[in-house]
């Protein structure tokens, strides 16, 4: 059970992970994009982290909404509206709640993915963040249904996410900036798929 305080600490961990991976993600983006993915996310999550201070007594959905708005207004690029929309959509799942439970989280991830697909019009297999998020969601939902063990389900979900990241090396991008590269996008791993996997892993690690 994640209450507002816990949620804030989870987000802090995400912010820290993004900060630590700023150069790594930017480096990945330099191969097939425009060298800013890590810079963008770090800027956004630093702003989120700043914002969180004033949200300790809010409901979880208000916190998630504030995160979404902050990401939208500070990240820019493709990942800003996408991650921002993801958080806004996740918030709708826990409207008015003070806690997030395991099933909530699974539903939130589903909503987040739907939001990203609505906004970005991409599908699995186009070399985007969806290629780690969708397999992670599927594994999480299946494994949790089977075992009711959230932590082990998340561990398996992250393995799927990592496999998804690996998979992005073997496909040609058809969405986002990497799509301009056509065949030259092969062999490179997608920065957004990577950051999404890092985000999920940060959540697991802070539980």
């Amino acid at each position: 059970m994640t209450d507002s305080k816990k949620l804030i600490s989870v987000i802090e961990t995400i912010a820290q992970v993004m900060h630590e991976n700023k150069e790594f993600l930017t480096e990945l983006d330099s191969a097939i994009g425009d060298s800013d993915h890590g810079i963008n996310l770090d800027r956004g999550f630093q702003a989120v982290s700043e914002k969180l201070k004033s949200l300790e007594s809010s409901n979880v959905d208000d916190i998630l909404k504030a995160i979404g708005m902050t990401l939208i207004s500070t990240v820019g690029g493709a990942s800003g509206p996408l991650y921002g929309t993801a958080f806004l959509k996740a918030a709708t799942v826990v409207k008015g709640q003070t806690n997030i439970d395991a099933q909530n989280f699974i539903n939130m991830l589903k909503e987040a993915i739907d939001g990203i697909q609505y906004r970005g019009k991409a599908h699995r297999g186009e070399k985007t963040m969806l290629d780690s998020l969708i397999p992670a969601y599927e594994t999480l939902a299946d494994e949790y249904k089977r075992s009711k063990d959230f932590v082990s389900a998340m561990e398996k979900a992250i393995t799927s996410a990592a496999a998804g990241v690996e998979y992005t090396k073997h496909i040609i991008a058809t969405k986002g900036r990497a799509s301009y590269l056509g065949e030259r996008s092969l062999t490179h791993q997608d920065p957004g798929a990577t950051s999404a996997m890092l985000l999920l892993r940060a959540i697991l690690n802070s539980l």
Binding site: I39, I72, V75, G77
Partner: protein, 328 residues
Amino acid sequence: MKKLLNNIANTETEMIDGLCKAYPQYVRRLADTGVVVRTEKKKGKVALISGGGSGHEPAHGGYVGYGMLDAAVAGAIFTSPTPDQVYEGIKAVATGQGVLMIVKNYTGDVMNFEMASEMAQMDDIAVDYVVVNDDVAVKDSLYTTGRRGVAGTVLVHKIAGAKAEQGATLAEVKQTAQKVIDNVRTMGMAITPCIVPAAGKPGFELGEDEMEIGIGIHGEPGTHREPLKKANEIAEHLLEKILADIDYSGKEVAVLINGSGGTPLMELFVINNHVHDVLTKKGIRIYKTLVGNYMTSIEMCGFSISLLRLDDELKELLDAPADTPAFR
């Protein structure tokens, strides 16, 4: 990284302020935003707004003024601006006649401008947009993001701006902007990379004798790398790709030889010399030529060629007066 800057985090702000302080007769900054608007709001016409990441100076703030844009929204360097910023820009310039956004075709730009227009529509502001996708280095396809928007965008600003200044409706301005987009093609190349200040190192590296063909305006990789050739051969190759994409034969065209920011004018003129000869030999008539740094990639050395197929309407609008910091 050797740059003439201060605290890197303030670069975008200092740059916009530097522009507005240089040309207060044309532009001012909307307080606390990355939005540059005309010093005097122009009423009674469709408002034009464009923008994108910073790093393409003089685009887009330098094109705000009579006969071109009403506002330019600048994001962080090479990062599209956020929807709230675009929304501020829309609100500042919106007139009863509506707002046309000129967006370069990047996933981020399109999404952020779209979200802004959704916000503005909730305020009952009529907002529409066109997406510029002139870069023939990228294959066009319904199933992908499609082609990038590059230097041809400046011609969209110019011509749509003139149309709006004439008092055309939002639908008419959009139609003319779309006509420019349908008729303009661009291809570029680079011999040295650019450095995003916050990244501190080049986005790509090229050998002492290598060039990147088909490069994007953010230093994104192009179609391929090859050994550096003579300027004329490079120009011929870029022209070939452009001419293969739509039929310019027997037409009149506008030519834009655009520098990437670090390219000396000397080289751009040398390139234009040959482009002119090649087109003339092919029976393509050059109506107007622009040579200079119009849509840059910070300090990248390289250039692009844009060809715009003209008809009488486009010729007249291209020739119409414009008075902005960077285009007159």
